[in-house]
Symmetry: C2
Subunit: 201 residues, 2 copies
DNA sequence: CATGCAATGTTGACGGAGTCAACATTGTGG
DNA sequence: CCACAATGTTGACTCCGTCAACATTGCATG
């Protein structure tokens, strides 16, 4: 084919895709610019024509990975249309599941900046990354609307909900908590405790 | 002094201390075996007489760092003797504060294994790392005792409490949530919401 | 169509890193 | 006192990120 061509035409996209695979396979520590270049059948310096440095490439890889994350959350919404409570539970479960299946991303998503768009600006605080939590917050907001008390929605509730999911995912991935049978049941239990409180106050 | 001596007598301890400082100053990414060796005024291979590899040295550094973490939590207990509720709140605040002041440790503590001693073994799940959460769980257990319903203590409550704190710390450190004024007030608010539920059920 | 420049890719080099092997020094127990 | 284990040094190897110099390609402009 055109494998031997000097100009690749879409090397940039290739680097991102191969980089994504490499990251999943060997993890962040073993990830290297030169390995990605080799996977693309290109010299060790070719990537530098498309990314200013390693961090830049990784950032692009993460943007793609985040899309997968968002799809996971959105699927919980789409399979529970008209049932906002079920949507919330589904998002919680899928949030944890995603990181259990892709543990490498847990740190990468939250350590680097990605796109730092402000999502919600409250009088108390602001959520700084629409990519990562926009869906969850919209969903909670929607639930309050469903309950007929839209104006009672307090962003701090979203923050607490989100924090709990995230901590839980962290501990499960790193085996700080080991569930003796399927962990999903306990994730659901915690989510239900959280949801219960949403109604209360 | 005895700087020039061939045998250092306590190089191992020195490597851990200098390594701790280096880790705090330059972060995990920039941390290197050779830099630590240089800080100790020793050849680049001397550390290998005391640690089998880089991971081994870092593990030792973390064991020391965890002691600082535990001290932070214990201070909340000691300054609130006889007031278990205040102890819990204090632990929550100090937990978040510790990682805000030492953001490097957030990932290091929870990604590597440290000492994987099982702390609580329940019929549902087990907490696998006494170092990291033993104090918090004891404190919650103690609070239930104080309330006169010791047998109602459900480990899943500890898991939820702990997860929330951890997620919160993660988001604050990585600026996913930016508090417009002092973040501590909001941490307290979330902790109080958590504590409130401890009494309920 | 020619040509010249920007975009893209290659080669080579550099220093920093982890770690292995061979060697040097020291401290200690018999 | 001496042999051996413990500890430290030197040098080498490979991998890595990245810079500089050079090569090739494709496209726009005349």
């Amino acid at each position: 084919m055109d494998k031997k061509k000097y100009h690749n035409k879409n090397l940039k996209e290739n680097l991102i895709n191969q980089g994504l695979h490499l990251l999943n396979e060997v993890g962040y520590e073993q990830f290297s610019m030169r390995k990605v270049a080799k996977l693309c059948g290109v010299s060790h310096n070719a990537p530098y024509r498309h990314f200013v440095d390693k961090e830049d490439l990784i950032k692009s890889i993460l943007e793609k990975a985040v899309k997968g994350f968002q799809d996971t959350l959105l699927s919980a919404i789409n399979t529970n249309k008209g049932k906002p409570l079920e949507q919330i539970k589904g998002i919680g479960i899928n949030y944890v599941n995603f990181f259990v299946r892709n543990p490498e991303y847990l740190n990468l998503f939250f350590n680097s900046e990605l796109k730092g768009e402000v999502y919600v600006k409250d009088k108390q605080f602001s959520f700084e990354d629409a990519y990562l939590f926009g869906i969850l917050i919209d969903c909670l907001d929607n639930y309050y609307d469903f309950l007929g008390k839209k104006n009672e929605f307090n962003p701090i509730i979203a923050l607490e909900f989100w924090s709990t999911l995230h901590g839980l995912a962290t501990f499960i991935i790193n085996k700080k908590v080991v569930f003796l049978d399927n962990y999903k049941d306990y994730v659901i239990e915690i989510i239900e405790r959280l949801v219960l409180r949403l109604e209360d106050k």
